[in-house]
């Protein structure tokens, strides 16, 4: 914790009438990392020639563009923000030069988060730590990830994905099934295969079979599309149950997804009540309106709004347990918070977790342990060695 009366390092520098030599020393001070996190204050730094430098971040509620100030007589730019304890913030710098602008990752920050659009720099605020269960554990036996293809009659096209089988998979045993929307992204950007290996190894979740599925047109198919629900429930589930040793009970079946993927999971369960006994919904795009049907998010959300309005009008217990998570720096936090009491009142068991993070894959990664272990508690409670 920083002494509230102590000046921030950048303020000391600014007051010292610095030149570039002092800036060199400031930047190379032993143990100093950037952004400079001093208690609840984070100072973003960029050095170089530019007409202006902006911070681009994804914290809903703060101005998305914040300008860095130049330290007089130097080429150092800085911006200090108050960042609450435990926050994790993805950002880029926007450099303005000669009437053009360019978005770049922070060259002084080694922390990166990748996503389908590239990568962002990551500010790890005071109190945030990358969970130890997201990195490969040499003691954890890796499960197998096998590609699968499936012809869907509903869509009249091939669907592709991958099946995760736990390391100790045996055909004679029965396993719960988890079906993941945007499966490739969960594997590539949320380390989900490693997370599964580790949580199973730690006995925090049971051995389970996981179907990582992808959609060629997720914006349409995930947005409350009856065909998608039919595909999952009447085609994929029976096929997997026929081919793999899956426990044939709703309590052992889970749908999960993030953003539109969460809408796809929930709307499928809503269409097929009591089939999917577990739901893991991350940062669900649960847009709704209280009057009329026009929503501020545009036409892509029209069918989502239709669905969520329907749920709000007639909430029903369609599953047994729902784990929901959302970042407080997401615009969707309002929608997610609004949904929780409605679902809770139906008699479903609902657990809602907030994080100081945004709408991104590492937020979703960081919530996997709590979500999966709540929906599928592992043998930890049973094993005493």
């Amino acid at each position: 914790m920083v002494n509230r009366h102590k000046q921030l390092a950048i303020q000391d520098l600014v007051k010292s009438a610095p030149d570039n030599g002092k800036v060199d020393k400031f930047l190379s001070a032993p143990g100093r990392t950037f952004p400079l996190v001093e208690g609840p204050h984070a100072t973003f730094i960029w050095r170089g020639d530019a007409d202006g430098v902006s911070l681009r971040h994804w914290i809903f509620g703060l101005e998305s563009e914040s300008s860095l100030a130049r330290v007089p007589n130097t080429d150092l730019w800085y911006l200090t923000l108050d960042i609450p304890h435990g926050s994790r913030v993805e950002y880029k710098f926007e450099l303005h030069r000669h009437g053009t602008s360019q978005w770049i990752e922070d060259p002084r920050n080694p922390n990166r988060a990748r996503d389908p659009f590239g990568a962002n720099s990551v500010l790890q605020g005071e109190g945030y730590e990358v969970p130890d269960w997201v990195a490969p554990d040499p003691d954890a036996r890796p499960g197998r990830l096998e590609p699968f293809s499936f012809h869907s009659k509903t869509f009249d096209s091939m669907r592709h994905g991958a099946i995760y089988l736990p390391a100790r998979f045996r055909k004679t045993r029965l396993y719960p099934l988890l079906v993941v929307h945007d499966g490739s992204d969960y594997v590539n950007f949320a380390n989900m295969r490693t997370v599964l290996d580790n949580l199973i190894h730690r006995l925090e979740i049971p051995d389970m079979i996981v179907a990582f599925t992808d959609s060629p047109d997720r914006i349409r198919e995930y947005a409350n599309d009856e065909r998608h629900a039919r595909f999952l429930t009447q085609e994929l589930l029976p096929d997997l149950t026929k081919r793999l040793p899956i426990i044939d009970r709703p309590q052992a079946r889970c749908l999960m997804g993030a953003s539109f993927g969460a809408v796809a999971a929930f709307s499928t369960a809503y269409r097929y009540p009591d089939v999917w006994g577990r739901l893991l919904l991350q940062s669900g795009s649960f847009a709704f309106t209280d009057i009329g049907t026009r929503n501020r998010r545009g036409p892509l959300f029209d069918r989502v709004v239709e669905f969520v309005n329907q749920v709000r009008e007639a909430p029903a217990a369609v599953s047994e347990r729902i784990f929901m998570s959302c970042g407080v720096y997401e615009s969707l936090i309002y929608e997610n918070r609004s949904l929780v009491p409605l679902l809770d009142a139906t008699g479903m068991q609902v657990k809602f977790v907030e994080a100081r993070d945004g709408h991104n894959w590492e937020n979703w990664r960081d919530r996997l342990r709590e979500g999966m272990s709540w929906l599928f508690p592992g043998p930890l409670l049973m094993v005493y060695e």
Binding site: W374, M382, V383, Y384, E385
Partner: protein, 349 residues
């Protein structure tokens, strides 16, 4: 208190890294062969080289897990019935947990209220009674389900079970003691019951640790104060074999219990009274003879007010690892264990 059909029962702390089983065996002067049960390790049941080595070649593994698999391979009707019963038990446990969580929530809310002391005391008792009723109802249902299953399928009369049971009985006859390791407590308990080990163990000295110790107590209580999904409630799994009565065995308390959370511990102790909640850290040991328990080595009872005497081992070697003095009898509860007979030596008290 132990069942009169056993000469002695020894409960031990975890044995994986620093086994003390040998010391316990020596203390009771057991010289003969020892039948071992590692069924709690499930598929790893025969990965028992360390245990065999520790017992200096005197161990004979009863292979209960593998025998169980063989039974289910040969007797499909029993397999299907067993699976159905497992599904029933899962439902029972799930519904029990729902009721239990609500009762514990109510207890917590009432506990936070301000009111005259006498009212609060009365309400606290009522809260605990409500939780105890839920525990008792669950236990009754589990017992009833098991009796119905046994009456309908008569496992001991079935050829596949009887064949193995005869072999197990022969092995045990030839042994002086039985050592029951930890592992998956439900799986272990299932195998112990499938082959009727309670009956076959008559006259033998029993050593058991972790899940093994839980399984031979009268009531198996599952607990973990810091699971990844958030602190859950301790829950009754089922009745155990009942070799040791009036105790709830809590292995690995140094990892699984929030030993500084008096409120939580207090609720646990009052839930299960008059049984004593006995925490069994590594290197701990309690021996019951027919005359009663000897003084414990490192095991400790959680007191009625949620306090206890545990001090984790320090680097200097003080604490449990060096056999520091700890108590077993709760000092302020109505659940004291009998005092140890004076003739028995004790290292720790």
């Amino acid at each position: 208190m132990i069942t009169g059909e056993l000469p002695a029962v020894v409960l031990l702390g975890a044995q994986r890294y620093d086994p003390t089983l040998g010391e316990a065996i020596e203390e009771l002067k057991v010289k003969g062969k020892i039948a071992t049960i590692t069924a709690g390790w499930q598929e790893r049941e025969d990965d028992d080289e360390d245990l065999k080595e520790h017992l200096k070649g005197r161990a004979i593994n009863l292979s209960l897990h593998a025998r169980g698999e063989d039974v289910f391979r040969k007797d499909k009707e029993l397999l299907n019935a067993h699976r159905e019963r497992q599904a029933l038990l899962r439902h029972r446990q799930d519904f029990y947990r729902v009721r239990l969580e609500h009762a514990l929530d109510a207890q917590h809310v009432i506990d936070q209220r301000a009111a005259p002391d006498d009212i609060l005391e009365d309400e606290a008792r009522t809260s605990i009674d409500a939780i105890r009723n839920i525990d008792a109802l669950h236990l009754d249902r589990c017992t009833r389900d098991r009796r119905e299953f046994d009456a309908r399928y008569k496992p001991f009369d079935r050829a596949a079970v009887a064949e193995h049971r005869d072999q197990i009985a022969d092995i045990i006859d030839d042994c002086e003691a039985i050592a029951i390791a930890g592992g998956h407590v439900a799986s272990l308990l299932n195998r112990l019951r499938l082959f009727g080990i309670a009956e076959l163990a008559k006259g033998k000295t029993i050593f058991a640790w972790c899940a093994g110790a839980m399984a031979i107590s009268e009531r198996v209580v599952l607990f973990h104060d810091s699971p990844p999904q958030g602190p859950g409630a301790a829950e009754v799994l089922d009745a155990g074999l009942g070799f040791v009565g009036e105790v709830v065995v809590l292995p690995q308390p140094e990892f699984r219990l929030k030993l500084g959370d008096r409120q939580r511990l207090k609720v646990m102790v009052r839930r299960f009274a008059p049984a004593a909640c006995i925490a069994m850290p590594a290197r701990s040991r309690v021996t019951w003879l027919r005359s009663g328990p000897t003084a414990p080595h490192g095991a400790f009872a959680i007191r009625d007010d949620g306090t206890h005497s545990f001090e984790p081992p320090s680097r200097s070697g003080r604490g449990l690892a060096s056999g520091s003095s700890v108590e077993l009898s709760p000092s302020s509860t109505a659940i004291p264990l009998p005092s140890p007979p004076p003739s028995l030596p004790s290292r720790d008290v």
